[in-house]
């Protein structure tokens, strides 16, 4: 009798243990999964990163905001806006790859080194290249997506053409036609008609980028970065990808026009000078979209 009770109770204990184990696997990785995923690698240039080697670095510099589980729920997270990235989702804003795909290792590497303007994420330039690549592998180990999917194919970015008045004007036409102003506003001041209703994927209010106020974009400051931002879209935010409907030459035109909207930028002297020469006025959203820009011959200056 006693033995029977003991058997039953040990069986119950076993069942409870099993339940506990499966409960663990819902919420977080099991020890086994963790050890498997710690084999994650990252490759950037000549460097190979190993998740295992980044445990110390992550615990020292990242865990406070991004959390032990990489879910963006670190101790400091409650005080932050924007919130730290939740790595378990495998979803990233700054990518060279199409919307809905994983970024390249180099995209994550660049994000760590660049930091995120208008957030508390600083540029981690104090870390060595090897430490950063190891961290990329560690960031990847938090999401099972990296074990089932490959990074997306990066879309090509053709060489940047010379800025001309013509291209800036054509860019302005695109700014109206693509309705960038609906969120970013006619002067790029983040005050378009849809700007105050925007939410991110967690249903938290989010502001469009303010070209007039912001000196830098979150995903980089160069012309190529701007090109990449609107072509890839910023996954997890209201900013969609335009790559299906914007040709490469149009994308450069739009980049040049967006530069004219930036008031606090050091990279746009040329674009602003041309805009000034042209006497470029903000678009009128109520006017029909112009079919074509002014003829190049009629454009004052700008052409070299």
């Amino acid at each position: 009798m006693e033995t029977k009770i003991m058997k039953t109770s040990s069986l119950l204990l076993g069942a409870a243990g099993l339940l506990l184990m499966s409960a663990v696997s819902w919420g977080q990785m099991t020890a086994y999964q963790e050890s498997q995923r710690l084999n994650m690698e990252a490759h950037v240039g000549k460097y190979t990163g190993h998740a295992k080697d980044a445990e110390g670095t992550y615990r020292r510099y990242c865990v406070g905001c991004h959390g032990v589980e990489g879910d963006g729920q670190g101790e400091n997270a409650q005080w932050l806006d924007p919130m730290p990235r939740n790595f378990t989702l495998g979803q990233f804003k700054c990518r060279s790859t199409p919307s809905g795909t994983l970024p390249l290792d180099s995209d994550l590497y660049d994000s760590i080194g660049r930091g995120f303007d208008r957030s508390v994420m600083p540029p981690w330039n104090t870390l060595t290249n090897q430490e950063k690549v190891d961290l990329v592998a560690y960031v990847k180990h938090f999401s099972s997506k990296w074990t089932t999917e490959k990074a997306g194919d990066p879309f090509p970015i053709p060489p940047e053409p010379e800025v001309t008045a013509d291209k800036i004007q054509q860019g302005q036409v695109l700014f109206q036609k693509l309705e960038c102003w609906k969120c970013h506003g006619v002067e790029g001041r983040a005050n378009g008609p849809s700007s105050d209703t925007l939410t991110d994927d967690q249903n938290r209010p989010i502001k469009p980028y303010n070209f007039a106020e912001g000196a830098r974009q979150k995903c980089g400051s160069t012309d190529r970065d701007i090109y990449r931002i609107f072509m890839s879209g910023l996954d997890g935010t209201p900013m969609p990808s335009y790559i299906d409907n914007v040709k490469p030459e149009e994308a450069w035109e739009l980049v040049f026009y967006l530069r004219t909207l930036q008031q606090k930028n050091a990279y746009n002297a040329k674009e602003k000078a041309i805009a000034k020469q042209l006497g470029l006025k903000p678009i009128d959203p109520n006017a029909p979209v112009p079919a074509a820009p002014a003829a190049p011959a009629a454009a004052p200056g700008g052409q070299q």
Binding site: L178, K182, S194, T199
Partner: protein, 243 residues
């Protein structure tokens, strides 16, 4: 001797067929001898008030609806007590894994999604169309598929989209026009979506015993057992209670 080898051959063949059959039990083709399962979905109670939509921020869409104001579509009840936009699908008992090749289209018209709920198989292709004179961004927010967000300016060609995994249901929205919301119900096998009268048709259901699930965005799911006999169209009805 000859006869023996023939028998042997037949036995091997039989074993092969059986093994093949066993291996295929997960994904044999749905037989063409399927019948349609039709039915109605009713709403028990008074449909909750649906908020009106103010489209004045988008004049091109507001103009389309100037004679008939539009409302949200969380619960769309017809005059005869029918409940629209309910997805009915086989949640258990389906042995086939056939992907419908039927054309599926999701239109953005008058700053509304038409249909409000689109059912589709995993792997089935759908077209996303922008019939409006304004830009939309199509922003599905799945949990079991990959999320993406694409802009579709007026006059641009349709997007061809397929979903890899079952998911009931993927909410889709337009960030530019925050009132726009709809669903993609990604379900395996035959499915039907109820119309304004609450009527639905699931075509080509092979004979068998199934659990049917009806999903409605506000009221959740209901299930029901049904047995479909060969050559005999079946009827089923669901009733959702107003909560």
């Amino acid at each position: 001797m000859k006869k023996q080898s023939k028998q042997k051959f037949a036995a091997v063949l039989l074993a092969l067929v059986m093994a093949g059959g066993a291996a295929l039990t997960y994904s044999p083709k749905v037989s063409a001898a399927g019948v349609s399962v039709t039915g109605t979905v009713k709403l028990d109670g008074t449909a909750p008030h649906q908020k009106g939509i103010d489209m004045s921020k988008e004049p091109s869409c507001a103009a389309i609806h100037k004679d008939k104001p539009v409302t949200m579509e969380n619960v769309v009840a017809g005059s005869s007590g029918g409940l629209a936009n309910v997805v009915v699908y086989i949640s258990q008992g389906l042995s086939g894994n056939e992907v419908s090749s039927a054309p599926a289209e999701f239109d953005q018209k008058g700053c509304q999604y038409i249909p409000h709920v689109l059912a589709i198989n995993p792997g089935q292709h759908m077209k996303i169309v922008n019939s409006d004179q304004t830009s939309h961004n199509i922003h599905p927010q799945p949990t079991k598929n990959n999320e993406w967000n694409k802009s579709q300016p007026p006059g641009s060609p349709p997007f061809d989209v397929a979903w890899a995994n079952e998911e009931i249901a993927i909410p889709v929205k337009c960030n530019i026009h925050p009132w726009m919301h709809g669903y993609f119900a990604v379900v395996k096998g035959p499915y039907g979506v109820s119309d304004d009268n609450g009527s639905f048709t699931m075509p080509n259901v092979p004979p068998g015993s199934y659990t049917l699930t009806a999903w409605q965005e506000t009221y959740g799911t209901q299930t029901q057992q049904v047995t479909v006999a060969a050559g005999k169209p079946a009827t089923v009805s669901f009733t959702f209670k107003v909560k």
